[in-house]
């Protein structure tokens, strides 16, 4: 009986929630003291809830308000958010307000999340890549309520996020257009916003928080910490991969290895005559370590997932490089930048904690579940890609068997590691810890950051292994063992086969690439300290306090 079916139940449920919430609001404005009461009024048991909870910016005031909620009123929440970053995010599970979790990244809470999972306090759905989780916001994980965060709101509820737009447009669109409730915490209220990032008719309630929202300076690496081994590895990456394939469009991970590459472009890269030939277009976090390359004219443009603390004034002054709003401040968008990283870059390079003998890599160990963030998305060969580039075609030709008239290209997916990490823990392992962990936690899918068949190259201080050129699983295994140094995996190599692979340039040592080990020196870095990064930026870069040692 079509005529008797009610097709507007979600709208009615939304209206009931709005009405319950309006008791605590004047228009859309809610006092900070009423934050918990508002959340208790608009959230229902079993709701899917997204707290931003992004990579960098945090709706910390709303998260703290939610932790104070009465667990007899709100319980069994299903948290669907990209970042588990704050203590409060885990407290929700401890207090039994939340029960289930689907997420992407948990850097600062990676050990706490491992403990909570082991103790059975969290029912884990899956660990996603960002756009995978965002995709699910529009299919089976649409939030009922989103708690977002902005720098400013006007009286109609329009939101200004400045450089930290990040996940918000995606989260708010999924929630608001499926009759969910959107609550925003803001630093300040303004009559006229510098620009509108989220239209006010998608925002239901606004709370001016007593203090500014927390932003994690997640991607800042002090050049003073870069080791000579990392410089050696970075030189191999530039000479053996960037120059070799003519990589123009790329994404960098956030480890010291990739920071070393960024700081070698204006020095080592310049010496090799590569300026303009590599590394021009970036889908990347706006890291301060990019400043010397930008100032030296290496970089044409950067689109950013989010912002980075201290970079606002620099980015505003370098509008030719960054995407900016009409107000001049940088405009980030995690969804769109991830799409760029997936389909419109030729190279992803990043670090990892473990690599097995098939090339599978994982950042998950028994006591640390860091999640993936965007790495699996950028660090995979995009099978839907249909546009050519020199780097993509060359990689595809290397991977192809024989001379097929239908060669498709390949993305370069590079892991850059040291054979041992801190405390002599080997990076190369026979079996990933995540397999044991999946058994223990009864996960259907062992968490793998990048699958071996997506990886094109692994670089360690011992050399580059080109996995595209491997023709059998045995060759692949020996190529990996052949650069695994004196780890157990490395010492179990078949010496003859490794030499044969080296003759075929499947393995290349620094000496094969003509790299002088004496160049692996800190004087090769364009900036060796935070102070020097500031100087390169003409003092526009303002480092966060924890990076100031003067």
């Amino acid at each position: 009986m079509a005529e008797t079916t009610n097709w507007r139940t979600q709208e009615q449920a939304r209206n009931e929630r709005l009405q319950a919430g309006s008791k605590f609001a004047d228009g859309k404005m809610v006092k900070p003291a009423d934050a918990t009461a508002l959340l208790e009024a608009v959230i229902r048991p079993g709701d899917r809830l997204c707290m931003e909870g992004d990579n960098q910016k945090q709706a910390d005031f709303l998260a703290a308000a939610l932790v104070k909620a009465d667990a007899t009123k709100i319980h069994d929440l299903h948290i669907v958010q990209s970042g588990i970053v704050l203590q409060e995010h885990l407290d929700l599970f401890e207090k039994k307000i939340a029960k289930k979790l689907d997420y992407s990244f948990s850097g600062p809470q990676s050990e706490a999340i491992a403990r909570a999972l082991n103790a059975g306090k969290i029912e884990l759905g899956a660990i996603h890549t960002y756009i995978e989780l965002f995709g699910r916001y529009f299919t089976d994980l649409t939030p009922n309520v989103a708690l977002t965060v902005a720098r400013a709101a006007d009286w109609e509820g329009n939101l200004y996020m400045g450089p930290n737009t990040e996940d918000s447009p995606t989260v708010v669109e999924a929630t608001a257009f499926k009759q969910g409730i959107v609550v925003a915490q803001v630093n300040e209220l303004m009559d006229k916003l510098p620009r509108v990032d989220i239209p006010g008719d998608r925002v239901d309630f606004i709370i001016q928080s007593p203090s500014n929202f927390y932003v994690e300076p997640l991607f800042t690496r002090d050049p003073a910490q870069i080791t000579e081994t990392q410089i050696l590895v970075a030189m191999m990456a530039i000479k053996g991969i960037y120059a070799e394939y003519g990589v123009q469009r790329l994404n960098h991970g956030i480890g010291y290895g990739t920071v070393a590459i960024e700081l070698l472009l204006p020095t080592y890269g310049e010496r090799l005559g590569l300026k303009g030939k590599i590394a021009s277009y970036w889908a990347n976090n706006p890291t301060p370590s990019m400043i010397p390359a930008i100032e030296s004219g290496w970089v044409k443009q950067v689109h950013a997932f989010g912002s980075e603390v201290g970079m606002d004034a620099y980015m505003c002054a370098r509008r030719d490089i960054y995407f900016t709003g009409r107000d001049g401040s940088m405009a980030s968008n995690r969804t769109l930048c991830q799409v760029a990283g997936l389909y419109a870059t030729d190279l992803f390079i990043g670090a990892t904690l473990q690599i097995d003998i098939s090339g599978n890599s994982s950042t998950i160990t028994q006591d640390r579940i860091a999640g993936f963030g965007g790495a699996p998305n950028m660090g995979c060969d995009a099978h839907g890609r249909r546009h050519p580039s020199d780097a993509w075609l060359k990689a595809g030709r290397e991977a192809a068997e024989g001379d097929s008239p239908l060669v498709r290209g390949r993305k370069l997916v590079v892991q850059v590691v040291e054979t041992f990490s801190e405390k002599m823990v080997p990076t190369f392992v026979e079996t990933l810890d995540s397999i044991e962990l999946a058994k223990k936690l009864k996960l259907e899918l062992a968490p793998v950051m990048i699958y071996g068949d997506d990886i094109s190259h692994i670089i360690s201080e011992e050399g580059i292994a080109n996995l595209l050129l491997c023709r059998t699983p045995q060759e692949r295994e020996q190529a990996i063992r052949g650069i695994a140094g004196v780890t157990d995996v490395g010492r179990a190599r078949d010496l003859k086969m490794v030499e044969m692979l080296r003759a075929r340039k499947v393995i290349q040592r620094p000496e094969d690439l003509g790299i002088n080990p004496l160049d692996a020196h800190r004087s090769m870095l364009a900036a060796r300290s935070m102070k020097e990064l500031m100087r390169w930026s003409r003092n526009l870069y303002d480092p966060p306090t924890k990076f100031r040692n003067w």
Binding site: E228, T419, F420, M424, E461, V486, N516, L518
Partner: protein, 103 residues
């Protein structure tokens, strides 16, 4: 302090005429290495002083790999280790031979 003494035979003598050179510093995670061209023929003598116990097999593996890759015949190498990781040790040794072989 652990003391380790290793005698190896390289494929060839290190080229160049430089008589000695020193690289690196004794700091945590780093090492200081002295290179002296005083050994006859293609032999290579290596002496290590390290605060870390129980890593003999790792030292042996790093040194064998170094001898095979760099052929440091004729050199006496004295290592003052500050608990450096194998990658740092290997790099420092390669740098030393490059220094001794430089024009």
């Amino acid at each position: 302090m652990e003391m380790l003494k290793v005698q190896k035979v390289a494929k060839r003598r290190a080229v160049g005429v430089r008589e000695q050179g020193i690289l690196g510093v004794v700091a945590s995670g780093n090492l200081e290495v002295l290179f002296e061209r005083v050994v006859p023929g293609t032999a290579c003598e290596i002496e290590i002083a390290t605060p870390m116990k129980g890593y003999d097999h790792i030292w042996q593996a790093v040194l064998q790999d170094f001898i095979d890759r760099c052929s440091p015949g004729g050199l006496r190498i004295t290592i003052n280790d500050g608990g450096a990781r194998p990658d740092t040790v290997a790099l420092r040794l390669m740098q030393g031979v490059a220094m001794m072989e430089a024009e």
